[in-house]
Every structure is written in structure tokens, then in C-alpha cells.
Amino acid sequence: MLEIRNLHASIDGHEILSGIDLTVRRGEVHAIMGPNGSGKSTLAHVLAGRPEYVVSQGEVSFDGRNLLDMTPDVRACEGVFLAFQYPVEIPGVNNTYFLKAALNAIRKYHGEEELDAMDFLQLVRERMKLVEMDEELLKRSVNEGFSGGEKKRNEIFQMAVLNPRLAILDETDSGLDIDALRIVARGVNTLRSADNAILVVTHYQRLLNHIIPDHVHVLVDGRIVKSGGKELALELEEKGYDWTRETAAAPV
């Protein structure tokens, strides 16, 4: 589904990603772990199409099509979803209105009819339950005045409504207490299916206790230095990131 080959990306002339290779297949959950500043969030944003990042080398294909050629909205319509680490507050834009506009933009892209207000409301009510979100939040402006936990739930709620094929969760666990973490993880697990894939970007292992990955990759200084199964996350938790740095530096 997602093929990343030798991806180099920079911002303001500083290279952050220095040759990433990664293959994600349908139905898989991959975790990208790494220390602060390793390039995890950059990878997430480059995949979503943030314009500030310049891709200088490499290729990314999504179902055989060149993802890097697509604008962020086309990527979204093709099924890429980024759950932000810091969801943006948008005063004056109603949460429900926004979500309906987004869902209908995606439906239109696929030549489907727009959902009417009733069907949309039904879908929204059903998906809200997944993340135990308060219906009051729907009436408010997007993320405005939301607590940290509410913002993260709103991201997963949006994901539940838009039903992406590739969801990228950027540090979704940061700032969540253990109860909120469980709720968010349960929401994500419900959305897991054989047809879609999830990329979990995280610094800590604790989210991976709830969202069990099929593969774990360790990102250091813009490169994947180690890949393994879910047990790799536990090993990292125990030994710390310095351990991977040492292994990476060792001659093969």
C-alpha cells in the first residue's frame, strides 16, 4: 500500500530525513519510534504533504501512485489521514460543518453523492461513541477551547468519520492520561481492518500496549536504524534509544 524509498526531506535547508525506506501493507500496523528530533513527526507531515518540507530525494508511492505529486487534499481524498500531535484551533468554523464539508469533499472525489444532513448526523452519532466524545463538542468551533485530551479524541473521531485507508497517528498519546489513552486506543483498534493500515508515530512504548503493532521501526537521525516485531518496543523501553544508536554505529 505504502512504499517509501530513500526518502530525504528538509526544512529551511536542514535535512531531517536522510534516506527512509519503509513498506506498509494493507491490514498492518507499523510503529515508528525514536528519540526527540529523530524525524518521526517530519515523516508524518511529509506523508500528509505539509508544504514547508522539501523532498530532495526518494519516492513515496501509495497504491502504486506517486504520493509526493499530490496536494494535501488529494492525499486525504485518496485515503491518507494524519492525526495531528497538536490539532489546530480554528475559531469560527463549526466542528460539524467542517467535518461534513470534509466528508463530502472526499465523497465527491470518488464520484459519490454527498451525504444529506440526516445521514451525516447518524454517522456522526455512531462514530462519536467510539471515542466517547461529548456531543457538545460538535457544536463548538474546531478544537477551540478543547482540552488536550478532547483534541486528541476529536482527531480519532474525525478519522472514524472519514475512514481513511492509511492513518498516521502523530504522537497521539502525548498529553493523554491513562483513561483517555485507553479510549483513544480502543477507537483506533475498532477502526483496524484488513483493508487499511496504521502508522503509529510515538516516543514511548505505552501506546503500543494498547495498539499492538505488527512491526516496529526505530528512527534515529532521519534514518530507520532498526526494525522488528512488537517485542522491539519493549526492548527499547528497557534499554533506551542510546542502545539503538550504538548498534547502528557498529560495523555490520
Binding site: 500528509a48 504533504g49 505539509r50 508544504p51 496536494t71 494535501p72 487534499d73 492525499r75 486525504a76 481524498c77 489521514f81 494524519l82 495531528f84 490539532p87 489546530v88 480554528i90 475559531p91 469560527g92 468554523v93 467542517f98 467535518l99 464539508a101 470534509a102 466528508l103 469533499a105 472526499i106 472525489y109 468551533s141 474525525q158 472519514l162
Partner: protein
């Protein structure tokens, strides 16, 4: 413009006044006409302001002064079908319609006997009760600028609205000023007079629009005397075509414990100057001044407010927002005076602007003159662009760049429009805004 050109323009208005007088016939003997003449004489004694004048530093009158505007229209109103697009459907309301400055009775809807409001044309009132008009003119702050002087010199038509004490008016009032093409470029001088009694409530909307893109000039003065404990909702919609000119003064004098909520929305005009002069003449007054200006192309919109806190315990909240595109320019000047007597004043002023193009500019300037010591006054101004983070966020959810930009712009403007209490007006403006944002 050269001094000679300016002198020529003044002479032009002088010749127009002479023609105006000739047409008045019997009206020339009235005391109101003495007021007109006095105003014209004062106009003759001053010059049109230039950029050297502090109040006109960012607004050049050159484009306006290049035209010789004629004062009389050959057009006799408009067919009701031509007026229809501007009418509030499905909302019971009172309406006075003017076309090129003349009252068009067929498109007006006046209160019947027994209604809690009296709505008359100025033309009628000048015949029936000229003394009442004179008393009111004297009770309002004196204006010294050439345009207000011209408006008084050519005082003839407009709206006079009276709400008796204790009356809550059942329907909003819609004053519709339409400009239709004429063989010459026209100037109109509407005058709106609103007298609101004690404990009365009323909503008045002045709506200016042009039916085609012809050049014209609206020089409007609105005067509002708000009684004790009264509540007024006031709206000024400037939606004239982008070749037109509008200079407007709104004077509001509020009595004890009264409340005024004013909203100005400027979408049209080649050059618009909107000035609200608010006087808090007694204690415990509350006022809200909201404004929204949307400009593009070569439009220029200048909004200014002068809030005069004369007495204690006055509260004023002011929020003006601007969205500027193309090569358009905007000006906001918000002056607040807190007189020595006006302790416990609470004045808050904000002006926020979004520039949608590299070539648009805005000059924003708060002016606070505070002579009392126990007051709370804050002001803030911002000039920015569409928030790139918000734009990216919306795009990652599937909205294309244009739709995302429009949604953000619409949201920025929405804060002003959603405060409008007349649903029909709010809906009309929302629709206009959506039109405008889709280019």
C-alpha cells in the same frame, strides 16, 4: 488635485446649490432653508480635506473630486420587480425605499395606524413639522466637515422614524436606498433621523445598493437620539457597486441606561468613508459597535469611530474586522475620548484584519484620549494573513486549498455577521459573503 481643481469643484457644488434652490420654489421661504443656506455658506468657507489633514491621511478624495455629480435624477423610481432582490422575504418588516434619493412609495411598506412606530419621509416632515426637524438638528453634535455641510445644504429627502416612549417595535425597519443608472452621474444626500423614546426598542437597517455598475455618489447623514432605557439595533450595509462613492456620518446620542448595538458591513464602493460618532451623554450606557469590511480590486474602505464617554459607568465594546484582497486598501481609525467626569468607563476596542493578497494594505489606528483615572480601556489591532497551519489542517481533511481558504475567511467574517439580530438580514449578508468568497 491642484488648488485650482479643488476651487473648481467647490464652485461646481455652488452652482448645484443655486439650481437646487431654484427648484425648491415655495420651500425657499422656510426656516429650514435658512439652515441650508447657512450650511452652504460654511461649506464655501472651507476646503476639501487633503492628505495633510490628520483625519484624511490615508484616504484620498481625488477619485471622488474628479467627478461633477448632478443633483437631480430623471429616473422615477424602479419597477417593484427591480427592487425585489433587495427585499427581505418571509420576514415581516417596515420598509421605506428610495431610488436615486427619491422616495418610491410603491416599494415601501409603512406602518398602519396604531402601529408602535411612526415612519415618514423627510420630504413630508419638512412640510408638516419643520420646527421639529430644526430642533433635532440643533440637538445633535455640530459637524464641520464639507460633506456633512453639503448634506445639510441639500437637505430634502430621507427617513424620519419616531418610536414613542415605552414602545417595543414589533417589526424591524428596512431603509432601502437604491441607485439606478441616470444620464448623468448622480449625487444623493439622504438624511435619516431616528428618535427613540424612553424604554422603547427598535431595529433599523440602512441598506445601500446599486442596480447597475454606474458611477454615483451617496452622501448620507444619520442622526439618532436614543432615550433613557431604550434599546436600538442599528445596521448600515454598504453594498453599492465598485465604481460608486459613499461618505457617511452617523451621529448617535444616548441617554441614561440606553443600549445601542451598531453593525456596519461594507462590501461595495470604490471609495467608502463610514464615520460613527457616538456620544454617551449620561450614566450607565452600553454600546456595541461592530464592523466588517470586505474589499477587493481597487476598493478603498475607511471606517472610523469616535466614542465620547462623557459620563460615568459607560461601557463600549467595539470590534471591526477587515478582509482585504486585490489592490484594495482599508483604514480603521478608532478614537475613544474619556472625559474627566466619565469614571468607571469600560471601553474595549479591537480591529482585526486579514490580507488575502500581497498588494492589499490596511492602516489601523487606535486613538485613546483618557482624562479620567478610574477607567478600564483596552485596544488591540492585528493585520495578518490566513493562518497557514489552519489551512494545512483543513486540507489534510480533504478540502482543497480554495475551499479551505474560503472557509477560514468566512469564519473570520462570521463573528460579526452572527451577531446581527435580524435573521433576514443575516441570511442575505451570509449569502453575499459566500458569493464574494467564491470570486
Amino acid at each position: 488635485m491642484t488648488p485650482l481643481e479643488i476651487a473648481n469643484r467647490k464652485a461646481w457644488y455652488g452652482s448645484q446649490f443655486a439650481a437646487f434652490e431654484r427648484n425648491l420654489n415655495g420651500g425657499r421661504a422656510s426656516s429650514v432653508h435658512r439652515t441650508r443656506r447657512a450650511s452652504m455658506e460654511r461649506f464655501n468657507g472651507i476646503d476639501f480635506p487633503t492628505a495633510r489633514s490628520e483625519d484624511w491621511k490615508y484616504t484620498s478624495l481625488d477619485p471622488l473630486l474628479q467627478h461633477n455629480f448632478a443633483g437631480y435624477s430623471a429616473v422615477e423610481g424602479l419597477a417593484p420587480a427591480a427592487v425585489e432582490p433587495y427585499v427581505w422575504e418571509d420576514t415581516p418588516h417596515y420598509r421605506l425605499t428610495f431610488v436615486n434619493g427619491r422616495h418610491t412609495a410603491s416599494s415601501s411598506r409603512l406602518p398602519e395606524g396604531g402601529a408602535p412606530i411612526q415612519i415618514r419621509t423627510l420630504g413630508n416632515v419638512l412640510e408638516e413639522d419643520p420646527q421639529g426637524i430644526e430642533d433635532l438638528l440643533r440637538s445633535m453634535p455640530e459637524a464641520h466637515d464639507p460633506f456633512t455641510l453639503l448634506n445639510t445644504a441639500f437637505l430634502l429627502e430621507g427617513a424620519v422614524i419616531d418610536v414613542p416612549d415605552g414602545m417595543a417595535v414589533d417589526k424591524p425597519v428596512h431603509l432601502l436606498f437604491l441607485s439606478a443608472p441616470d444620464e448623468r452621474a448622480l449625487v444623493t444626500y439622504p438624511r435619516v433621523i431616528l428618535r427613540v423614546g424612553r424604554e422603547a426598542r427598535v431595529s433599523v437597517s440602512e441598506h445601500f445598493a446599486s442596480v447597475t455598475p454606474h458611477v454615483h455618489f451617496t452622501n448620507v447623514v444619520t442622526q439618532m437620539a436614543v432615550g433613557a432605557d431604550a434599546v436600538v439595533h442599528y445596521h448600515r450595509i454598504q453594498d453599492e457597486n465598485p465604481n460608486s462613492f459613499q461618505i457617511g456620518l452617523t451621529q448617535i446620542v444616548q441617554a441614561r441606561r440606553s443600549r445601542v448595538h451598531s453593525t456596519v458591513v461594507t462590501l461595495g464602493g470604490r471609495l467608502t468613508r463610514n464615520f460613527i460618532h457616538l456620544v454617551l451623554a449620561d450614566e450607565h450606557i452600553e454600546s456595541t459597535l461592530n464592523g466588517l469590511y470586505l474589499t477587493r480590486g481597487r476598493q478603498h474602505a475607511d471606517h472610523r469611530t469616535l466614542i465620547d464617554h462623557a459620563k460615568p459607568h459607560g461601557t463600549t465594546h467595539e470590534l471591526y474586522k477587515g478582509i482585504l484582497d486585490g489592490h484594495s486598501t482599508g483604514v480603521f481609525n478608532g478614537k475613544i475620548i474619556v472625559r474627566p467626569d466619565a469614571q468607571k468607563t469600560d471601553a474595549k476596542q479591537s480591529n482585526n484584519n486579514i490580507l488575502l493578497s500581497e498588494d492589499a494594505t490596511v492602516n489601523t489606528r487606535p486613538q485613546l484620549e483618557i482624562f479620567a483615572d478610574d477607567v478600564k480601556c483596552t485596544h488591540g489591532a492585528t493585520v495578518g494573513r490566513i493562518d497557514e497551519d489552519a489551512l494545512f489542517y483543513l486540507q489534510t481533511r480533504g478540502l482543497n486549498a480554495e475551499a479551505a481558504r474560503n472557509l477560514l475567511t468566512y469564519a473570520f467574517a462570521g463573528e460579526i455577521l452572527e451577531r446581527i439580530q435580524v435573521p433576514a438580514l443575516r441570511e442575505k449578508l451570509n449569502a453575499r459573503l459566500r458569493d464574494r468568497l467564491q470570486h
